[in-house]
Amino acid sequence: MRLFKQFILRALWREKVRSVVAILGVALGVAVMVAIRLANVSVVETFSAAVDSVGGHASLRIRGRAGRFDERLLLELDGLRRFGQLSPVIETQAMIAEPRIDEAERVGFPRGDLLHVLGVDILLDYPLRDYHVLATQRGGEQSAREVLSLLSDPYSVILTEKFLRRAGLRVGDKLPLVFDSTTQEFTIRGVLLNRGPARTLDGNFALMDIAAAQWAAKRLGVLDYVDILLEEGVDPARAEVEIAQLLPAGLLVETPEAASGRSQTMIAAFQFNLAALSAVALVVGLFLIYNTVAISVAARRREIALLQIAGAPGRTVLRLFLGEAFLLAFIGLAIGLPTGRLLAAQAVQGTAQTVETFYIQGVAESSAAALRLSLTEVVVAALIAIPLALLAALVPALEAASLSPVATARGLGSRWGARRLRLLLLGSLTAAAGGYALTFGPPLWGRPVLGFLAELLFMIAGALLVPSILRVGCRLAQRLAELLPRGGNEMRLAAANLLGALPRVSISVAALSVSLSMMIAIAVMVGSFRETVIYWLESALSADLAAKPVMQTSAVSEATLSPQAVKTIRQDPAVADTIWFSSRQVVYRETNIRLAVTELDKTFERARLLLKEGPPDRYTADWGTQADVLVSESFAIHFDCRVGDVVELPTRVGQEPFTVVGVYYDYASNQGTVMMDMAVYERHYALPGVAVTPQAMSVFLAEGADPGEVRTRIVNQLGADEQIYLVTNRELRREVLRIFESTFTVTYALQLIAIVIAGLGVAATLITLIYQRQRELGLLSLLGATYRQIRRVIVLEAILLGGVSQLLGTGIGILLALVLIHVINVQSFGWTIQVYLPYAFFLQSTLLVLIASALFGLYPAIWAARENALAVVRQE
């Protein structure tokens, strides 16, 4: 321990900057990892907590195979009473309407507070969930009958204690709520105490009567599902099997968790990718540990030799350096954990928003509230960071332990021979080949695990390539220096210095290259994706205006336009044509897919659906008469399905076969989508007596009509109680791109952090290099070199390092991007992305890296030049 104090602690203290950089590197790495993990966990937890608290004690759930089902089927379920209590449910969302909505807000994309709405027959539902309702100051908790009487007026809601406090409302107050697109004033009839379903989504929960919910959500005649509370002693698994046999063909029974499990599967790929990216930040941090320990070994060869001569065994030396790594990692961890918790608040917003936009409604509202740093997270982070840090330090520590005292004292081994370089090159090629082979692997557990392993191998290949490239780079610089009339000396000197310190420098360059490659890979991938989406938007969005209800906030939302809105739009004199669109979630092969319904004839005539496979771009009359469907690319990839295949889809009467006649590109959702003509839908899905309204409409205007004017006219005619988004083509494109950008916010943040960490690494390396070369620099100044010249040498070194890193980073980055696009993206999301190389970005980033390197180099340069050269030399 005393030895550790003298040998390691003192050294760390002496080289404060380097130590701090290493610790910061680990801290940032840990922070990023923890933040992403927390964000992911909190999104899932929010979702499952919502599912659990709303799900109550129900152990089984009956749903329509094809989504909502005719409520009259409930009569056929009366026989199931022997299994337990049955309770039909309407589940929806409502938005709290802003008191005043002017036109400017209405045409944009405003968002109000969302309430998760549960509509039940409280008489049947009371035992299924924990209801604790108060209605008056003197009254106690309300019985089922009392709650029913509270809710019997159709414009009644019971809200949670938490929500009422937050909103400053009380029982008896009125609250305007938007269901789908229609605003209505509701009266608050009671308070749900903070238990059971009231805990859903941080209290954003409303209890309504089933009749009122059906009316408000325009679901008259249908049910979302029926919950079953099994009698005590009934075995759920057996009951599930028995009930399944008794159900009408259009219904199925499952556990409530089954449905939420499918939703979680949808977000799993997205979350896995984020987690994998966050791991990279940690890897870079660990590189810094390696870097620090390696440099510390290299810088103290003489001291190590002395130790060994004094009789310390190699084991002691090994322990000393591992101890150093442990210390650095531990402090880094201690700083990283709370930082991660702070970052998580930002990360959770980004991830939750994306999850909400694409997969699950209502998550973004409250994920941040569910955020907490649990002991598990701390342990997980420690279990990941500390062993990895020790592993990273093992290589240089072993090297130190195995050095012969003589060789160490002489300071040999600081140069790599040609053999060593060849070996590294060979390793690099092997890693690259391995990575390439992995790209052909299938997804494991539905996740692109092999793809990410391939990425890792490519990064390692790049890192191992660094010494060779660096050597070539330095040689080139030396050649270049000969061509320069002035300043050539400094460059020659800089290149020679780097060549001399190749082992140490390589590590830092490798760290920087890997970080830069990440940045470039993500830039290439996102850029390509963006271009692809823009291209798709150009053809897919041809309508002049698009209309959807204000509650259509998520790709999985099923809010519809009111008949009044549809009528008003269709009857506007300037409207030439409209295309009807609607979608619903159905289960296909244990996966949630989207069933999209539209007027295919008009879609082909006007909207130019981009087909990947299938018939020519025109409508075939058969599509309306046969059971023909188009499937989205992600559906085709996910289920390995081609034109001509037959898919068994759940319909109102059970499973029915549909023929795939085309595969189309769809970047609006990575959920597999099956698209069918309205006529086909009517035959297989429409419920008798239940009005079908569109969830969105594309509006085509007559020649010469101004979209802005038409919009204003329609919105005014609809009045304030009818809230729809009516957006022009341009606004919609902008909105799609905004969602696109926001989806990648977290990604951008991650790569930025990785680069900062790598930059810190470069600075640390340079400082060390200079520290070691004080004598040399002193000599230089004795020989008459000006401070300016010395500074220039060091800055040139930094630029050289940066340049080589950037070059290598770009190369690896493009490779990584190709894997991201062709392997990981396809396996996770099932999208075809056309590769676009953003040359302008390459140029910009190169300039940026060179300038940043120069700046990072400037500090050690000034520091070195300021050192009293004579004093340094005299010391010797």
């Binding site: 009569l75 209605a135 019985s143 019997s152």
Partner: protein
């Protein structure tokens, strides 16, 4: 009404009363009161639409079988079947199957099938007299998609698979819950008895609280009972009451005792008394039916009722008089009415919270000089469970009853 304002009636009133008068707030979080209005204010009272229900004020003309069906203009209605049965081996059983309809909103504006116009409650109980076991079940539903209801064009009242149907002149009763079931066919052996004044049955000394009430006082019954999974072939005699009204309770009434007795001399006796919280005064009424089906109304003065033995329910804590001395001095009847066994208490689920005693009774005594025996059913309410007292004065019926008005003055 067979003075059977019954738990449901109280409950119906509870619906209109300020909600939540049952217990002090369990969560005495002082803070929460900030979110809540005082009683009666704001959200507490939600049903104000229930104004135009018909009321039982004048005698009406009954017409059968039409009047077996629902009377949806009235707010409260029930069909009540009780009976004493036995197997061929002589094992005695009692049963109760009751269907209630409580009007909530005569014309709901919500077009949903789930909009609540009426609530349908049903109670089903079996008394295994030999084993002294009582099994009770209840259902509480809205009509919804047809989960419960009463047909308008024929006599068919149902709550899921519990139902009563008229087939010819036979009343077909069915109910099942797990291991317990009932499937009986009842054939009236006497014409319908209109209770009270031509079927207008008053519920208190003060005028204004009344119901329309008729009975089938003796119905030959046979069918099956399933008890604990074992199905028995049974036969015996049943009693049916059908009653509808909108306002029949007097303020201050806390409960009642109701008797339906089939004597072995061919006579039947219906008696009830209303108990008040504010004193010993009792309002009594009844009907005596002779062997030929002629009925005679009994007034308070004609009836003497004295509890003889109490049984304390271990579950609810209620003290029920499970044995009575019944005397009709003017008609020379002296009867002892004793529960077939003590524990025939009906505790409905926490969702309604209503507790009452309804059970098979054995009758012995004297008519004139000769001995007489019989069987019957006894119902006792207001001995346990939530107190309904406060609800009575707070009824939210739009037009206060005259009785309430008088009481106020």
């Amino acid at each position: 009404m067979r003075a059977r304002p019954n738990p449901l009636a109280w409950l119906a009133l509870a619906l209109f009363a300020a909600a939540g008068c049952t217990q002090p707030a369990a969560d005495s979080d002082a803070d929460i009161t900030a979110l809540l209005p005082a009683v009666g204010e704001g959200g507490a009272r939600s049903i104000k639409e229930s104004s135009s229900w018909s009321r039982a004020t004048e005698p009406r003309t009954f017409e059968f079988p039409r009047d077996h069906g629902p009377h949806e203009d009235f707010q409260i209605e029930w069909w009540y079947y009780t009976g004493n049965l036995s197997t061929s081996a002589g094992e005695p059983f009692g049963y109760q199957l009751t269907f209630f309809r409580t009007g909530i909103n005569q014309k709901p504006r919500n077009p949903s099938r789930w909009a609540v116009r009426d609530l349908y409650t049903a109670h089903f109980a079996l008394s295994d007299i030999g084993r002294q076991e009582h099994y009770g079940f209840q259902r509480n539903r809205r009509a919804g998609v047809g989960l419960a209801g009463a047909a308008r064009d024929k006599y068919h009242v149902f709550n899921g698979d519990w139902s009563v149907k008229l087939q010819g002149d036979v009343h077909h009763l069915q109910a099942v819950d797990g291991e317990y079931a009932l499937d009986l066919r009842l054939r009236p052996t006497k014409p319908v008895v209109l209770q009270g004044e031509q079927g207008l049955s008053r519920k208190g000394a003060l005028p204004g609280n009344a119901s329309y009430y008729y009975s089938h006082v003796r119905m030959a019954s046979e069918g099956t009972l399933t008890v604990d999974g074992t199905t028995h072939q049974v036969s015996g005699e049943s009693w049916m009451d059908h009653e509808f009204s909108t306002s029949f309770l007097e303020p201050g009434q806390v409960g009642w005792d109701w008797f339906s007795i089939q004597l072995d001399n061919g006579h039947e006796l219906m008696l009830f008394q209303m108990r008040r919280s504010d004193g010993p005064s009792r309002y009594r009424s009844g009907t005596l039916v002779d062997a030929d089906g002629r009925s005679e109304s009994l007034k308070t003065a004609d009836i003497q009722l004295r509890p003889r033995a109490l049984w304390k329910s271990p579950e609810s804590g209620g003290n029920y008089p499970v044995a009575w001395d019944v005397e009709l001095p003017r008609h020379s009847y002296r009867l002892e009415v004793v529960a077939a066994f003590d524990d025939q208490e009906m505790i409905t689920a926490a969702s309604t919270g209503i507790v009452y005693w309804e059970g098979s009774v054995v009758v012995r005594g004297q008519s004139g000089e000769g001995p007489v025996g019989g069987r019957g059913y006894l119902e006792m309410t207001g001995y346990a469970g939530p107190s309904f007292g406060p609800l009575l004065t707070g009824t939210a019926n739009e037009a206060p009853t005259r009785a309430a008005g008088n009481a106020g003055g």
